[in-house]
């Protein structure tokens, strides 16, 4: 602690704080314009000047001066008042006084400051600068004439988002905010809008729709990826006005900030649909629910309780998914259910479980007192010990504490934007080293200390090469590891030369990566859904788990594995037990049911053991499961399909009953983010005739005579959390930080498959992956803001490849694989190496999975047309 006096008051502050931070903690108001807690001090406006003794004979900026022992600070004096008044007048000379029509009116920091400092009039004059507004850019509107050149937007864009899309042009009085050339070409995250103290950067979705004071604000978890961000939803007259993220963090991605209009999409389902005479017809809720219950009863009576197969949803809340598994386990009494994470995230969990063992929690006891809503009834005590794979998964907030991060098979920002921001934060430390191993150049290659470009699909072999180099250097694992000898044996025939040849990464780079990891005090490994969606995704996860067992230091904060759980509740749907082999909290079940891919194969074959009915909680299988043709054939053979979704998806079109559900803020519930934090979604909008998932499941269950808990999401959560010692200490994000379990980790090195060949002889490799602006298919419905930036699927291609094929930007290309053929416009992308083409997975047309077989990589031929 540091002792000093501020305005004559003796105070104690934390060491390393700035005077401004100390004043904020103590409740002493110091005027400021450019300072923002989300950023490092900028020191541009000088309005926060204070007098400091001992110090130079001039006032110092409080935002950039650190507290020191024995300091005397004066934050208000006639001298300082004169300086601040003069500075404010200078700012106001050229500020367009458009407050009545400016969107910022009412929440404008310049308005507030002018009032606080009491600027009576601006008796200075200078040349008026041209306004140079930018009305052309998408989503963001720029008014340089309202800019106070504080530099916040530039700093957040550069330091926190890493886009560096805006900067100042010219200098002195003529300084102006610019993107170089109109219009903006950036990530369209809109973080600059919310950090702007004035109305120089405007959200086009919000413009002229409401005044700042007219809205009702609700803080909630973002439903557009597994990042677990929270933001404020601003609602007026029952309509969403905007998504806003003030507070200390500000940064959101484009999906989160501009994606909300999907709630108002005209193509959303409003009433239940029932198939009659081959057509889906509108029906009442009672008709639809009665039909579902009657049909389910009929099918179970005829073909047994296991004849209904359930597919949970990574979009739906924990509560809905929990009820869903309860409906199957307690109601029907089967384990015939799964979730679409089977094709990605579950593979990561399986790989990690093989190495680090199953989830085990000990020393956790139920607290007899009533916990607050949506809080686990198990407190974390000193005895609490965790074992097994959930405890090697990292928290995003801890990632900046890691000193070496290995990114394998992930374009980090599109996969999970908050993970990218955490990497940028980690970079601020000098000791931090970043290793990136991808098949193409991504945003983070620019920041990488070691950037390896491997052949598509050879990531696992590259990891094997790194492990081999580590074993050769006789690294001793920090975690208790068994099976070392057998493991060494399995890699005996592998040579680094061979790895270098097959992966295309130089031997020296592999060794350098191994060195960095071996010397790391807190290494972390990030791998994306892109890596997990390969046919041997589980082997990929296994290889990385082995690597982490060798080099990981789980005692050090930040040293962990970070597999990407792509959707808002991909991790939650697994944890609450929508799995054929595990119940809530990964508790093993007696008679495991069949996994989703097996069921689809059975259905396609017309096997007698195949289910007679599918109950799909969202999850557009036709769009996201690989091998479109097989899935379509399988689904067409099911006698009765029930789909709960907000949109008439490709899968829903094949259904017999479609039940429209509430999305986003129309329902209450919780999500588990990719890093295991609990996001709380309060209800802020009316559901307009559609029902939340929970209610629908409950109504079907009660019509079938099953008793499952009810009383709203809070009650369901209570029931759920009681079954989950794994969630001990869990509370909604933003409340008290969750105390950490003691970790008792040990692992077994498990040999993995070294065969990375990709079948087929076609000349190009297609990668089906993620787009920055989209999350699943949810964001592909008008008027979602994400569609303004990325309106359609385009096939990314290396310019040389395109030239060789006689194709130019925007040309239609015919893409053929062994599975099918699609036509798609191409876009030239020099980040892709020759031989690799990239197609985003999100769009219905063209269906990327019409080309795939069992992996997101497939060999293709491309021709004009």
């Amino acid at each position: 602690m540091v002792n000093l006096t501020i305005d004559g008051r003796a105070v104690q502050t934390k060491k390393g704080q700035t005077i401004l931070e100390a004043c904020d903690d103590l409740g002493i108001f110091v005027p400021r314009l450019c300072y923002h807690p989300a950023l490092k001090p900028i020191g541009a406006c000088r309005i926060c000047v204070v007098e400091v003794k001992p110090g130079p004979p001039r006032p110092l900026p409080a935002c950039a001066t650190y507290v020191a022992e024995g300091q005397e600070v004066v934050t208000a004096s006639p001298k300082l008042d004169v300086i601040r008044l003069e500075l404010m007048k200078l700012v106001l000379i050229n500020h367009a006084l458009e407050c009545p029509v400016c969107d910022k009116g009412g929440e404008c920091e310049l308005q507030d400051l002018t009032h606080a400092i009491g600027v009576p009039e601006v008796d200075l004059a200078a040349v008026k600068l041209p306004p140079n507004q930018d009305y052309e850019s998408q989503l963001v509107e720029r008014h340089p004439d309202r800019c106070v050149t504080c530099g916040r937007c530039i700093h957040i864009c550069r330091d926190r988002v890493g886009a560096m899309a805006i900067n100042f042009t010219l200098r002195g009085y003529f300084t102006e905010l610019t993107s170089g050339a109109v219009p903006l070409d950036c990530e369209f995250c809109g973080s600059c809008i919310d950090i702007c103290p004035v109305g120089a950067l405007i959200n086009k979705q919000f413009k002229y729709r409401s005044r700042a004071w007219e809205v009702t604000k609700t803080e909630m978890a973002c439903p557009f990826c597994g990042g677990g961000c929270t933001y404020e939803l601003h609602v007026k007259d029952g309509k969403v006005m905007r998504v806003f993220n003030g507070g200390d963090k500000v940064v959101l991605c484009g999906r989160g900030r501009f994606g909300w209009p999907v709630v108002e999409a005209p193509d959303r389902l409003k009433t239940p649909l029932i198939r009659q005479d081959g057509q889906l017809q509108e029906a009442t809720w009672d008709e639809a629910l009665d039909l579902v219950a009657a049909k389910f009863r009929q099918i179970t009576e005829a073909a047994g309780l296991g004849a209904i197969y359930g597919v949970g949803s990574p979009r739906a809340t924990n509560e809905a998914n929990y009820l869903f598994q309860k409906f199957f386990r307690q109601g029907l009494g089967t384990n015939n259910l799964d979730n679409p994470g089977r094709y990605t995230y579950i593979r990561a969990l399986q790989g990690l479980a093989a190495v680090f063992g199953p989830a085990q929690v000990s020393g956790v006891e139920l607290d007899p007192s009533r916990p607050p809503a949506f809080t686990s009834p198990y407190p974390v005590t000193d005895d609490a010990k965790g074992k097994g794979f959930p405890f090697v998964l990292g928290k995003i907030d801890d990632l900046p504490k890691a000193d070496v991060v290995l990114v394998v098979g992930a374009d980090v920002t599109p996969e999970l934007p908050p993970l990218g921001w955490a990497l940028l934060e980690a970079r601020e430390r000098d000791a931090f080293k970043l290793i990136v191993a991808n098949n193409r150049r991504t945003k983070f290659d620019r920041y990488a200390d070691l950037s390896m470009r491997c052949q598509p699909g050879t990531e696992r072999l590259l990891v094997a090469g790194i492990i081999k180099a580590l074993l050769a250097a006789e690294v001793t694992p920090a975690i208790r590891a068994s099976g070392v000898e057998e493991f060494k044996e399995s890699l005996k025939k592998l040579t680094l030369k061979d790895v270098a040849k097959k992966t295309g990464v130089e031997e020296a780079a592999i060794k350098a990566a191994a060195d960095l990891l071996a010397q790391a005090l807190a290494p972390a490994i990030i791998f994306g859904a892109e890596l997990l969606a390969q046919d041997k995704g589980q082997e990929n996860a296994l290889a990385l788990a082995d690597l982490f067992l060798l080099v990981g230091k789980p005692g050090a904060p930040g040293s962990a594995l970070y597999p990407v759980a792509e959707k808002n509740n991909t991790r939650g749907v697994c944890e609450v037990g929508v799995l054929p082999d595990f119940g809530p909290g990964f508790a093993p079940v007696d008679k495991p049911g069949a996994a989703l891919p097996e069921v689809l194969a059975l259905l396609e074959k017309g096997d007698a053991a195949a289910p007679q009915s599918l109950y799909l909680l969202g999850g557009d299988l036709l769009r996201f499961a690989p091998n479109h043709k097989q899935v379509e054939k399988a689904l067409k053979k099911v006698p009765f399909i029930v789909v709960q979704d907000a949109f008439l998806t490709e899968t829903a079109k094949l259904a017999h009953v479609v039940l429209p559900v509430a999305v986003h803020a129309e329902q209450e519930g919780t999500f588990i983010s990719s890093d295991g934090t609990l996001g709380y979604l309060p209800r802020a909008l009316s559901a307009n005739g559609v029902k939340p998932d929970c209610l629908i499941i409950h109504e079907i269950a009660s019509r079938m005579g099953y008793s499952i808990p009810t009383g709203g999401p809070a009650n369901i959560f209570k029931d759920l959390a009681k079954a989950m010692p794994l969630w001990a200490g869990l509370a909604p994000k933003g409340s008290e930080p969750r105390a950490d379990f003691g970790k008792d980790l040990s692992g077994q090195l498990v040999p993995f498959d070294l065969d990375v060949s990709l079948p087929g002889r076609r000349p190009l490799t297609l990668l089906v992956g993620k787009s920055l602006q989209h999350s699943g298919s949810f964001t592909t419905h008008h008027p979602c803001g994400a569609l303004t930036v990325t309106p359609r699927a385009e096939l990314g291609m290396n310019p040389d490849d395109a030239q060789g094929l006689g194709l130019t930007e925007g040309d239609a290309a015919k893409v053929t694989s062994s599975q099918g053929e699609i036509s798609v416009p191409i876009t030239l992308n020099p980040d892709l190496p020759p031989g690799l083409v990239f197609l985003p997975e999100h769009f219905a047309d063209p269906a990327a999975n019409a080309l795939t077989l069992n992996s997101n990589l497939v060999r293709v031929t491309i021709s004009k047309g």
Partner: protein, 152 residues
Amino acid sequence: MKKSQKTIESILAGYPRHPQNLIGLLQDVQAEYNYISPEHLALICDHVGAPLTQAWSVATFYKSFSLEPRGEHEIKVCLGTTCHLKGGNRLVETCERDLGVARGQTTEDLRFTLDTVNCLGSCALAPVVMVDEDYLGGANIRSLKKRLSKLE
């Protein structure tokens, strides 16, 4: 105009790919082409790995960079206090009339760029005009016209 112009590729090849080389490259391109075209700016950014906005910011910050084509010859008429008193304004007006451009502009044939400066630090020679790298001291309309005609 110089006979052989270095290609942009050969200029780029002279610098390692690092953002710290941004200003050096901008200077070389400015010297070679008398201005930095948008295409060249983009190529430089790609080469050094700096975002376009940063290059834009740097190029507009320094007076010695121009993003618009500049003339082959640069005429800088001093309008500092002494030169102003000694009739510097008349010299600028003469140039404007003769060249058919306003101060700060470039002739259409890209031969001359006319600029004014606030002080060349040669007040004893006032009024001063700088033609390319040469100082023309004690200038008057006749000597200035003579100097310019030599260039043609």
